[in-house]
């Protein structure tokens, strides 16, 4: 009795599948044409995934994407003579969707770990991560190592989790979905410290007079992800990055977006000879 409808359903599924496949085939043919030598998803534009919640690197301001890496990728796109397009996304689906050609790259400095290198390629570094331990002044953790035996809040999925666990094995890491939830927990005394990137840490200390931050430790190089089957695009992004570093745009934008007292990481300057330190930053 149910055989007929089932067969019909399979038929519909097969048609849908065939349609999907032919569409995919069209997309592939397009990407290979001469008009789009970079191999971006749409000729003449480059689409970036970005994070809407990572101030001041990648966030939304007045309904528009804003931040250091947004403006840096805009400058890079101008060098590549393509129009940048930005889509907000969560971190978990960012790299899979770049591999699947939903986005060309991400305006988000991603730590290039071995597991992630299996999924996408990465450009040369856009920065080197630096992290600080934030704590309450009345129970201050003066260094990252002082978190031994304590409970520390870190944003979930962050590469800072394995970093801190490797450095301070006796620490208890408590994962929170975002920096606001972590900061609430620190204020409420649910955790003893909060381990986060340097700019976020300084931002927190400015907003909360009862917080204090430890000196920074390095967490590794961050880069922009690109699909493995788009070597031309990766090379174009690398070249564009080199040229925005050479013409001083990188330093200018870094200076514009980062709180005073945050210097361009020494590792970054060592990696790109000729990269200028921001004015007024010590070393």
């Amino acid at each position: 009795m149910t055989a007929a409808p089932t067969r019909r359903r399979i038929g519909v599924a097969a048609v849908a599948l065939a349609a999907g496949m032919s569409l995919a085939a069209c997309g592939g043919a397009d990407a290979g044409s001469d008009a789009n030598s970079l191999g971006t998803i749409d000729a003449g534009t480059i689409s970036f995934a970005f994070r809407s919640d990572d101030k001041p690197t990648s966030f939304v301001d007045n309904g528009k994407p804003a931040g250091f890496l947004i403006e840096l990728t805009q400058a890079m796109a101008a060098k590549m003579k393509v129009t940048p397009k930005y889509t907000a996304t969560d971190f978990a689906s960012m790299l899979p969707n770049i591999r699947n050609h939903k986005y060309d790259s991400a305006a988000f400095g991603t730590l290039a770990t071995d597991a992630r290198k299996q999924v996408t390629d990465f450009t040369s570094p856009v920065s080197f991560g630096e992290a600080k331990m934030v704590s309450r002044k009345d129970a201050a953790l003066s260094t990252v190592d002082a978190s031994a035996g304590k409970t520390v809040a870190i944003t979930r999925g962050s590469e800072l989790i394995p970093l801190l666990k490797a450095k301070v094995p006796t620490v208890t890491v408590k994962e929170f979905p975002n920096i606001a939830a972590s900061a609430n927990a620190l204020t409420a005394g649910q955790v003893d410290g909060l381990f986060t990137g340097e700019t976020t840490a300084l931002d927190l200390v400015t907003k909360h007079p009862d917080y204090t931050a430890s000196p920074s430790i390095t967490s590794g190089q961050t880069a922009l992800p690109v699909a493995k089957d788009k070597p031309n695009l990766r090379k174009a992004l690398d070249d564009a990055l080199k040229s925005v570093i050479a013409d001083g745009t990188y330093t200018k934008l870094f200076d514009k977006w980062n709180p005073q007292g945050v210097a361009i990481p020494a590792d970054m300057i060592a990696f790109y000879p000729g990269l200028q330190q921001r004015p007024g930053a010590g070393s």
């Binding site: 599948l17 999907g20 496949m21 569409l23 995919a24 085939a25 592939g28 971190f91 978990a92 689906s93 960012m94 790299l95 899979p96 591999r99 699947n100 050609h101 770990t113 597991a115 992630r116 299996q118 999924v119 996408t120 409970t151 809040a153 979930r156 999925g157 208890t172 890491v173 408590k174 994962e175 929170f176 979905p177 939830a181 972590s182 609430n184 927990a185 204020t187 409420a188 005394g189 649910q190 955790v191």
Partner: protein
């Protein structure tokens, strides 16, 4: 063919799914079930009390219950969890110390209680007036009529709707991550999301999805069977033949 390969790589990366399963089984499943039971118990108690309040003749009792249900059913779950789970400790009410599960179970229970209240109210109000009048005329007090007659009959009638709500509680437990989780405290969804981020693939989420189905589908069938049993009594075949009795 590329498109299908991408879907397979993204969602159905078999080695990655298989390597996520042990952690889900050892750590996540127990935590999910534990949190579900805690939150459900709180939700049931809150729901029955609120339902009684919603049906009260006294305005002073009815109105606060009405407001509670309207507000907690109307707010996004994430906001309610933050308000209760992070609001309490921020206000200095560290009732559960730094035990995240206490705050999470309370927040989910208080939230789900609002939904359950309306389910219970519809069940209790569906109990025929005649039955209640019969109980009252036998000399049962209003409270005893409620406890002995209305609640048991009403509860039975809303069992299917309640099962649906339990399934929502199971899925709500995924929101515990909002309140911060230490290693060993992560429930299934948190484990899957972390593994997804670290491996840049959504397959671990599919692995967690399988476990949610393993819990929710048998639960639905078990409750349906229980419901049928209560409606129809034991299977007829178990009764002795009429002739033998005669």
């Amino acid at each position: 063919m590329d498109g299908i390969q991408h879907v397979l790589d993204t969602f159905f990366d078999l080695p990655l799914i298989l390597s996520t399963l042990p952690t889900l089984l050892k750590e996540g499943l127990l935590n999910t079930l534990f949190l579900t039971v805690l939150a459900s118990v709180i939700g049931l108690v809150v729901g029955v009390f609120l339902a009684s309040g919603l049906m009260s003749r006294h305005l002073l009792l009815r109105l606060p219950c009405r407001w509670y249900v309207d507000v907690l059913r109307g707010l996004p779950h994430i906001l309610s969890i933050y308000l209760i789970g992070q609001g309490l400790p921020l206000a200095g009410l560290n009732v559960f110390g730094s035990w995240t599960y206490g705050y999470a179970a309370l927040a989910i229970g208080l939230m789900e209680g609002a939904y359950m209240a309306e389910i219970f109210r519809s069940g209790f109000q569906s109990v025929e007036k005649g039955i209640v009048e019969a109980a009252r005329s036998l000399g049962l007090s209003r409270a005893r009529t409620m406890r002995l007659i209305v609640i048991p009959i009403g509860f039975r009638r809303v069992l299917p709707a309640l099962t649906g709500q339990f399934i929502l509680v199971i899925k709500s437990t995924a929101l515990v991550y909002l309140l911060g989780l230490a290693t060993g405290q992560r429930e299934m969804f948190a484990i899957a999301q972390d593994t997804s981020s670290n491996n840049a693939s959504l397959s671990p989420l599919v692995a967690a999805g399988l476990f949610y189905l393993v819990i929710t589908v048998p639960l639905t069938y078990a409750v349906n069977a229980w419901d049928r049993r209560m409606r129809e009594g034991r299977p007829v075949a178990a009764l002795p033949p009429v002739e033998a009795a005669a």
